[in-house]
């Protein structure tokens, strides 16, 4: 692993993290702005970046914004809105060519900060609120996106499973918000929501590329108009929610293939000492093509093309997903439950242990080769408050024994079974 590490600083209420590196052809920039996930704010927060990207004080027309990005050698610019633990995060990303590869007169790093600062902190306003036509168009756009979730059946089934499982907590909310809220949003109310978000969000700005902390601090000071409000940081509560009785939810739709999804609860989260054991649990169960789910559901029983598991350490949730022939539901469920039982019983081979360790090791080592992966790992540290380097995590994973995985398995409890099946079938 490279001995490079992020340098940390501040500009007002924004935390700044810079990794000077000459290995990449670009400057990778990421801004994370997170607020607690809540019914009242989820939709406005999600809608905000869609409106921000439409026009700024200097580039009030959308085409001007997009032309500016093209002038900067087609700088990559995008944003995501997602849930992490009990927070809703808006993440802006830029990926701009290092000037040395092109014949650019201006500093593309400075242009990038000027651009991002504009988009995030200086939107185009009309009488002190967002431009009405942009708000209207983006409400419509987000509404379509919400409706379009159903088009991707794999994703739809996985989100529905989580929604059912967390139906009594904010985590049920979709990161894009709630359709019923959209209608009531006005240019004024959205502008207020934007100010609330910007003034109260935890802000972390990352840069990887041929630059320095001092340079970035200067650029932020010059190009970001942030209020003097106090710096906010993420707070983690220990998840105490236990799995209820296993609940089965069946939904019918026009589909060729059935989607079987399962949700599990665990008390082990990112900041816990048992995190490495939980990673191993997931890896052995279904993280890889050598894992139990792939080997038993796909290779042995020939029931599915995909059968895998995921572990979300920020929320303390495990999920299983597979696409099967609808009439094979019982058979697939039985095989999957058998794997869960084997995990709990510690029926794990030394080979499964060593293969899974090797895969996790590879995953952690290759983070170094991607600027945005390095950023994401460091952000997890900021987010969880757990200062654990990749080298430390790697050591912990190497030290895991079968009984540790068994102990982790005992914390994973099946909570919800979700099955999406065809209209016609019984």
């Amino acid at each position: 692993m490279n001995k490079t590490a992020f340098q940390h600083g501040n500009a007002g209420r924004m935390r700044i993290h810079v990794l000077p590196s000459k290995r990449f052809k670009t400057f990778a920039i990421s801004l994370y702005a997170g607020i607690p996930l809540a019914e009242e704010t989820v939709t406005g927060t999600a809608l905000t970046p869609f409106v921000l990207r439409r026009g700024t004080a200097s580039y009030p027309e959308t085409r001007q914004i997009r032309e500016q990005l093209e002038q900067m050698y087609g700088a990559g610019f995008g944003f995501d809105v997602y849930k992490r633990g009990n927070y809703q995060i808006v993440q802006f990303r830029m990926d701009t060519i290092n000037d040395s590869f092109v014949k650019s007169q201006e500093s593309l790093l400075e242009s990038s900060f000027a651009f991002l600062g504009e988009v995030v902190t200086r939107p185009v306003l009309e009488e002190g609120r967002f431009r009405g036509s942009y708000v209207q168009a983006e409400k419509e756009n987000v509404r379509k996106k919400m409706e379009a979730i159903v088009n991707d059946k794999i994703r739809y089934a996985s989100e529905r499973c989580i929604e059912e499982m967390c139906r009594n907590e904010p985590y049920r909310l979709h990161p894009l918000g709630q359709r019923k809220d959209l209608e009531g949003i006005t240019p004024q109310s959205l502008y207020d929501a934007y100010r609330q978000w910007l003034d109260h969000a935890s802000l972390d700005l990352y840069v990887v590329g041929d630059t320095s902390l001092e340079e970035v601090e200067k650029l932020i000071g010059k190009h970001f108009d942030l209020s003097a409000a106090a710096e906010a940081s993420y707070k983690q509560e220990k998840s105490v929610r236990k799995a209820d009785e296993v609940r089965t939810v069946v939904e019918k739709m026009e589909v060729s293939q059935g989607k079987l999804n399962m949700g599990l609860r665990t008390s082990v989260t990112y900041a816990d000492d048992q995190y490495a054991a939980a990673l191993m649990y997931n890896g052995i169960l279904g993280g890889y093509p050598h894992s139990k789910l792939f080997m038993n559901v796909r290779e042995k029983a020939s029931l599915a093309y995909y059968a895998s598991s995921r572990y979300d350490g920020h929320k303390g949730i495990g999920t299983i997903q597979s696409g099967i022939e609808i009439q094979n539901y019982e058979k697939a469920l039985e095989i999957i439950k058998m794997q869960l039982e084997d995990m709990r019983a510690g029926k794990i081979t030394e080979l499964e242990m060593s293969q899974t360790k090797a895969m996790i090791r590879n995953l952690l080592l290759e983070i170094d080769d991607s600027a945005f992966e390095m950023i994401a790992y460091d952000f997890n540290r900021q987010f969880s408050g757990k200062d654990r380097s990749r080298a430390e995590l790697l050591q912990q994973v190497e030290a895991i024994r079968i009984e540790d995985v068994k102990a982790a398995a005992e914390t994973f409890e099946l909570d919800t079974i979700y099955f999406l099946k065809g209209q016609k079938e019984e």
Binding site: Y73, G74, G76, A148, A358, E366, S370
Partner: protein, 426 residues
């Protein structure tokens, strides 16, 4: 070992052709942890009718190249994923119209993993039993794609355009077509297309080129490959006209999906000519349909398109077509408005300033892609199989003129050559 230096990109490529005809390329990425290797054969879903020099002409079932890809992972001692996992490598493969690619990514044990990759691809092991078992798995993969609206609308467009050329046949085939596959047909295809002289090994990452070549030389020298005659790929002549003007599929979607595109009248280009035509067309399509164009903004404001609206160009020596579109509430209105707006552009051509900006964007996009070892390996191989030089892209973009782009616009956008594919709710 041949050394090719690209100063403007700060990259160096090493090349060697083995005695048996295998082409090997190494691109060292100093400071990278990961090594990414692809082992590709110039053999994809379109190669369903062929003759190897001195042998009988054969026609094989649809979907067999993809089926073969699946079956390669099985060895007498078990699944090859397990071998990769033991060495911490993440392995995969994919089949496209004209190539099949096997790959791994690893941060350690690179030599062992490279040996595994080469050896398993050069060792077919098909039995009646393991061929039958795979039909269930691939059947589920086919079903998964049947439920995928984006795939359906994309393939629908190709089906509408091409009547005879096998590019219109789904890469995985159908449940019926794969039911006729036997171990004998698999061996026939394997023996024809997996000869080293039809294959390319690309290794990129933190490696020493000489060590890689040494390993491959020794590995290949130990295998007894007889020289193979030329492979003749047989394609019946395709009509110039599109097969169908409009094709509609029914699937549960929140909003119709509409893709349209133009089938090229003239094909048969190879090498640098094909590359120049490909890049010129992509530049042209971006000037016509890109997110900063007037057309895009108007259609967005009219709520006829959303963020899903995109464009691509797919070109090979035997087929070439554009695909433009996305989600729309009203496919007919969208098509009418596109025609109106495009006709306007056709009258006057593009503006010099827009052209320069779009060129910058394309060059920047290419340079950004070079941050990713995966993209470099995939794109390099794809270009090489078409006789084009991946590392000349920036020079070609720099030499393209506005006149050429305007000429390409007039030639490509021929309304008689347009086909439309739509997916709507049942």
């Amino acid at each position: 070992m041949e050394k090719l230096q690209f100063d403007n990109l700060q990259e160096t490529l090493y090349k060697e052709v083995m005695d048996n005809g295998l082409h090997v390329y190494v691109l060292p990425k100093p400071g990278f942890q990961k090594t990414y290797a692809t082992f590709a054969t110039k053999y994809g879903s379109v190669d369903n009718h062929f003759r190897v020099e001195g042998q009988e002409e054969v026609s094989v079932p649809d979907g067999i190249a993809h089926f073969l890809e699946h079956k390669m992972f099985e060895e007498p001692e078990g699944d090859i994923f397990a071998t990769f996992a033991s060495n911490g490598a993440s392995a995969n493969a994919f089949t496209s119209f004209d190539q099949t690619v096997y790959l791994f990514s690893a941060t350690e044990n690179v030599k062992a993993n490279l040996e595994t990759l080469i050896n398993f691809v050069q060792h077919p092991y098909f039995t009646d039993q393991n061929v039958e078992k795979e039909k269930g798995i691939i059947g589920q993969e086919i079903n998964m794609y049947l439920d995928n609206a984006d795939w359906r609308v994309y393939f629908g467009l190709i089906e509408a355009m091409y009547q005879i050329h096998p590019v219109h046949i789904d890469i995985a085939g159908t449940v019926e077509s794969i039911s006729t596959i036997t171990k004998e047909t698999l061996y026939t295809c394997y023996n024809a297309f997996y000869h080293p002289s039809n294959m390319l090994l690309f290794v990129v990452g933190g490696v020493n080129p000489e060590e890689v070549f040494e390993l491959v030389r020794a590995n290949q020298a130990a295998k007894d490959y007889k020289p193979q005659g030329k492979i003749e790929r047989i394609f019946e002549p395709e009509n110039v006209e599109v097969a169908e003007k409009r094709r509609v599929a029914k699937l549960a979607v929140s909003m119709p999906k509409c893709l349209f595109g133009f089938k090229e009248k003239t094909v048969g280009f190879t090498g640098s000519e094909l590359l120049r035509r490909d890049l010129t067309t992509k530049l042209m399509l971006d000037l016509l349909f890109g997110t900063s164009t007037e057309l895009y903004q108007k259609l967005y404001d009219e709520e006829l398109i959303s963020d899903s609206f995109s464009h691509e160009y797919n070109s090979s020596p035997q087929y070439a077509f554009s695909a433009v579109g996305g989600d729309t509430p009203d496919p007919d209105k969208l098509l009418a408005r596109v025609r109106e707006e495009v006709d306007n552009v056709l009258k006057n051509g593009f503006k010099e300033s827009d052209f320069e900006r779009a060129r910058k964007k394309k060059i920047g996009g290419y340079l950004r892609m070079l941050n990713s070892p995966e993209n470099i390996a995939h794109e390099f191989t794809r270009y090489q199989f078409r006789g084009s030089d991946f590392f000349s892209v920036v020079q070609v973009y720099e030499s393209i003129t506005l006149q050429e782009v305007n000429d390409r616009l007039k030639e490509h956008v021929d309304w008689n050559q347009m086909a439309v594919s739509i997916v709507v709710n049942p």
